[in-house]
């Protein structure tokens, strides 16, 4: 299956890229996606995840064609 993986803000800079296209068969959850793109790192606790532009937990399932995003805590709005 194919998964589009996107990164934002400080994570995007840390990853050194804005997105990955993952083609793999052994991926079941958001956590699996992270393990592949981070070459084996556990998902940092403060990192947020979204599947198809909705917030999701690391345990959320992913399927072919999904867009998965990882990003640091949000800081919009105003003080």
């Amino acid at each position: 299956m194919t998964i589009r993986v996107r990164y934002f803000a400080s994570l995007r800079e840390k990853m050194g890229r804005i997105e990955d296209t993952l083609v793999a068969e052994d991926i079941a959850t958001v956590g699996d996606v992270w393990r592949v793109v981070s070459t084996g790192q556990p998902l940092p606790e403060q990192l947020l995840c979204a599947v198809n532009m909705e917030y999701a937990e690391a345990s959320a399932p992913v399927k072919d064609g999904d867009e998965v995003a990882f990003f640091p805590p949000v800081t919009g709005g105003a003080e």
């Binding site: 805590p73 949000v74 709005g77 003080e79």
Partner: protein, 141 residues
């Protein structure tokens, strides 16, 4: 109910003046407005500029969901949310939230709800330009 992402400076009160439609005139008794403006000081440092990154697509979806959540909880006659993205200078408006209701209690409550939810769940990230370079704003008060 209108949600707008805005890539250049906007004038919140001119937008409000233009937005108020005749159709609701006489129906609403209360309008609560919040405007967030960029300050020139953060964490003790002078900030020259800020860049607001966001997640196109998810941002609009999340903002629309927040407005719908507010609508489900309070009797909103209308709501307007405008949020800047991109480069912003001190003194410029970052966000406008306005709600129109019959009574003032629900106007304050709904306006507060929308700005708090926006701040804590809408995918925006601030990067500040200070004297020593750039930094991501990591905490969210």
């Amino acid at each position: 109910m209108t949600v707008i992402l805005c890539e250049s400076e906007f004038s919140p009160y001119a937008e409000l003046d233009a937005y108020q439609q005749g159709e609701n005139a006489g129906r609403y008794g209360a309008t609560a407005v919040f405007v967030g403006t960029m300050r020139d000081l953060n964490l003790g440092d002078e900030v020259a500029q800020m860049t607001l990154e966001h997640y196109p697509g998810m941002t609009e979806r999340r903002l629309e969901q927040i407005v719908l959540e507010a609508q489900a909880r309070w009797d909103l006659l209308d709501a307007l949310v405008i949020h800047r993205v991109g480069a912003i200078k001190p003194g410029e408006a970052i966000v406008l939230v306005a709600v129109w209701t019959r009574h003032r209690g629900e106007a304050f409550a709904a306006c507060r709800y929308i700005i708090e939810e926006l701040k804590h769940t809408a995918p925006f990230w601030k990067k500040e330009t200070i004297k020593d370079g750039e930094r991501w704003v990591e905490s969210n008060t």
